[in-house]
């Protein structure tokens, strides 16, 4: 048959273009300087969290009543808090809790939200109705109240707080993903994929899902930020991390009482929350652009 005519030359080419595809993706990412810087910062944070005991100059829960509310100095880079603990060490150890709280709770929300949203948007009908009413019910609660209730039912502690935050974040993702699926399922390329006789899961995963990634990515990075804050609120109310384990959120709320006398207590973890959130955001943008074949 005439199919075999093209010959062996293309066969070798088959490997190289795929490599170049990966290369252009990396190139696209590294062109975005902000995303690269953000990525480096995130790597440092993760490193900090992993090796906290090695890096931290002091024990994060060691109290020194001779050095209460000391301003930043050579010995205590970020100063000390109301019971004389070293803020710098606490920020480093706090990265463990806060990164976990941010990433894991958003991970939970995504792993429920993506499949449920995809199914809801693709199949519509009764399934969609039921899922939507449940998400509406969840969304009708103020998110903190819901998280509080869930955390209270599940019991205090970081794991349960992350679970509660994850569940609270989920309806937003379901709604967002469903809306994106609705926007794409009527496109001709989806219809064409169906007309090509592809199974539903292929249409959903290969043809619809990649096209919904951009807003999901943005929403996820923003959600990490709000998860870190929510963990702080829960900790503040005694349902998240238990003292003396430091978390940025808990430090932030503990520091608010001393905002005029010792602003560093709140400002230092605040800056880290801010930088983490903005880095994750910029990094997410970079990844999104990297995955978009339309950008060179």
């Amino acid at each position: 048959m005439e199919l075999i005519k093209v010959g062996g030359i293309q066969k070798e080419k088959a490997i190289s273009p795929r490599k170049t595809m990966f290369k252009t993706m990396m190139k696209r990412f590294f062109q975005n300087k902000l995303a690269v810087v953000a990525g480096i910062f995130i790597v440092i944070l993760i490193f900090m969290a992993l090796f906290a005991p090695v890096i931290a100059p002091h024990d994060p829960s060691e109290q020194d009543y001779s050095k209460i509310l000391k301003a930043p100095s050579a010995e205590h880079w970020f100063g000390t808090d109301e019971i004389g603990r070293d803020i710098f060490s606490r920020v480093i150890f706090g990265a463990r809790v806060s990164l976990q709280a941010g990433l894991i709770s958003v991970g939970i929300a995504l792993s429920i939200g993506i499949p449920v949203g995809l199914i809801s948007g693709f199949y519509r009908g009764a399934v969609d109705e039921i899922i939507m009413r449940i998400t509406d019910a969840l969304l009708s609660f103020p998110s903190l109240v819901l998280a509080l209730a869930l955390a209270a039912v599940l019991g205090a502690g970081l794991e349960n707080a992350m679970m509660a935050i994850g569940i609270v974040l989920t309806p937003n993702f379901i709604r967002l993903i469903r809306a994106e699926v609705l926007a794409h399922r009527e496109r001709e390329y989806v219809e064409a994929a169906k007309a090509s006789g592809l199974r539903d899961w292929r249409v959903i995963l290969i043809h619809i899902f990649p096209n919904t990634l951009a807003p999901i990515m943005v929403q996820a990075t923003l959600a990490i930020a709000s998860a870190i804050i929510s963990e702080a609120s829960l900790s503040y109310l005694g349902l998240g991390t238990q003292p003396p384990t430091p978390s940025w959120g808990a430090m932030l709320s503990a520091g608010q009482g001393y905002l005029s006398d010792a602003p560093w207590i709140a400002i230092c973890p605040g800056i880290f929350i801010f930088l983490t959130v903005i880095s994750i955001n910029l990094f997410g943008d970079g990844v999104r652009d990297m995955l978009d074949p339309k950008l060179k």
Binding site: L3, I4, V6, Y189, A192, G197, I206, N211, P293
Partner: protein, 329 residues
């Protein structure tokens, strides 16, 4: 190999019998029990033989595209039957339907909307080839690259993304996608309408070439009379969800019998003939498919309309292979 299969002109590849597709519209709601329907396709019957090209023309919104989609079972028919090779497709289960997708393909109008922006051309085509097990895995690349050459693209285009192509090239990719499964019937839904005239001609010639090479049968849906004239063997004219005339191309272009067809064809600019053609100008707009006129649905705009047209739906009668739905034809 394929050419060895002798063409059998008598065999009906596809048969459409009293096909209806109604879309329910709002109405229902809280306050009204009444259901309104848009009768997009309303009682259409025709048959298409193997190797034939059937052109379907009509104004925007007359239901031609819906008809195409119902034939592919992308949308379920409200009533009526579609027989492909003698088998009723609405009875198919999911697996049989997937097999049907190998036999009937569609080419969409919009060359920009019909390709997934995230997939390379090669990934998209290979996926289809793999899913339907058209060729063994090791021949996949060669098969797809051959396909690309068949539609006038380069083998290197395998690794490109859709946005790197022009409209005409994209439409060639869509054609390659339709061809990838080696179908028997392709529904071309306004396949060239979005293209420049010069590119239109190229794509039409490509379709013609592929038809001969792969023994294809086309249903060619378009609002462009000259395009349909160029490619079709037979032509059907649709008005408000109904087929009003269906005949051999030469016959219908030479002596259209339905007043709507006459008006439509009188609008084709003709530079070759000496005598000036009489232009039949229809008054009024196409009535809403929500509120279809009684009797003959063309009577509101028909120059020949009389009382019988308002009350009685004209039959779709056949005379010497020329079918017309008009009381006066």
């Amino acid at each position: 190999m394929i050419a060895a299969e002798k063409q059998q002109p008598q065999e009906n590849l596809l048969e459409v019998n009293s096909l209806k597709k109604y879309f329910p519209v709002g109405g229902g709601g809280l306050f009204s029990k009444e259901n309104h329907y848009v009768k997009a396709v309303d009682d259409i019957s025709f048959a298409i033989k193997k190797g034939e090209t059937l052109g379907i023309v009509g104004e925007s919104g007359c239901g031609k595209s819906t008809m195409g989609r119902v034939i592919l079972h992308l949308q379920a028919a409200t009533e009526g039957e579609v027989l492909f090779e003698g088998k009723e497709i609405s009875q198919f289960n999911k697996n049989e339907l997937r097999k049907l997708r190998k036999d009937i393909q569609i080419i969409f109008q919009d060359p920009f909307g019909s390709l997934n922006p995230r997939l390379t051309v090669g990934a998209m085509l290979s996926e289809i080839v793999r899913v339907h097990k058209i060729v063994p895995k090791k021949d996949e690349l060669r098969y797809v690259q051959n396909l690309l050459q068949d539609v006038g693209l380069n083998p290197e285009h395998f690794w490109r993304y859709p946005h790197e192509f022009s409209g005409g090239q994209r439409q060639r990719i869509s054609i390659a996608r339709a061809l990838a499964v080696r179908p028997k019937l392709i529904v071309c839904d306004e396949a060239v309408s979005a293209l420049d005239v010069s590119v239109q001609a190229q794509v039409l010639n490509l379709l013609q070439k592929l038809k001969n090479k792969y023994q294809l049968t086309y249903i060619f849906i378009s609002h462009d009379l000259s395009v349909v004239k160029h490619i079709s063997d037979r032509v059907g004219v649709m008005y408000l969800g109904k087929l009003v005339e269906l005949a051999d191309k030469r016959e219908i272009y030479k002596s259209p019998r339905h007043p709507y067809t006459q008006a439509l064809f009188s609008a084709i600019p003709d530079v070759s003939s000496e005598k000036k053609k009489e232009r039949i100008i229809l008054t009024g707009d196409v009535p809403s498919p929500l509120n279809i006129p009684s009797g003959c649905r063309f009577h509101t705009r028909c120059p020949l309309a009389s009382d019988i047209c308002k009350s009685e739906v004209p039959e779709f009668r056949e005379k010497d292979g020329h079918r017309v739905a008009c009381h006066f034809a």
